[in-house]
Symmetry: C2
């Protein structure tokens, strides 16, 4: 399986959890220390750390340790890749709707067009 497919698997998997999405939302506003990130969650720190590990493994966040403080920041490329995949599907879908719409209009025009003896079909 191409590497990019595996990456999308892991990014979507990482985002399929409300705690991990909340962490991404928080980090979109700037780098944050782990203790600060964990504060809003009624969760043991080791469990919370596992969520951070999932986010870091798929490349959505990066961390750096300085002294005893580990700080996390968002790495936006994987998010952009996933967003781009979704935008592509929507674009295909919308183009298809446009095509359907054009086809329906064509049918309508054919239906309402007044037939005159001069049309090709009647002359033939």
């Amino acid at each position: 399986m191409p590497k990019q497919f595996q990456q999308l698997d892991r990014v979507f998997q990482a985002l399929a959890d409300p705690t991990r999405r909340a962490v991404v939302e928080r980090l979109a506003n700037g780098p944050t220390a782990m203790s600060e990130l964990a504060r809003p969650f009624a969760m043991a720190l080791p469990s919370f750390a596992q969520h951070l590990d999932v986010l870091e493994a798929c490349g959505l966040v990066q961390s750096q340790k300085q002294g005893r403080v580990r700080t996390y920041r968002l790495a936006p490329e994987p998010l952009q890749d996933a967003e781009q995949w979704m935008a592509q599907q929507r674009a295909h879908w919308e183009r298809r709707l446009d095509q359907l719409d054009a086809y329906l209009n064509e049918l309508k025009e054919q239906h309402h067009e007044p037939r005159s003896p001069s049309t090709d079909r009647l002359e033939a």
Copy 2:
């Protein structure tokens, strides 16, 4: 947990699989019969049907049976919700970068600005 959160959980979970993403890609180009959808995959039909069930359970696809043929079509709203969530995170992140950029420029200007005796600071 709010209903919208659960929905995002399930949509991202559904998209975390290459077979299911391939089905979404196929359906973005128009409704397709199940047998036709299954054709490109070296997979037993019951396994493939489970993937379709996951996609249908989270609302990403809808199906209709006519005679012996079940046809699937894309339901784009859940995809749009997930895309919107991603776009929001990116917007926050980009706004933060802009703010950082403005701050850095401000620092640079202060650093390079020639000090003159007429500035407020020196007059005070």
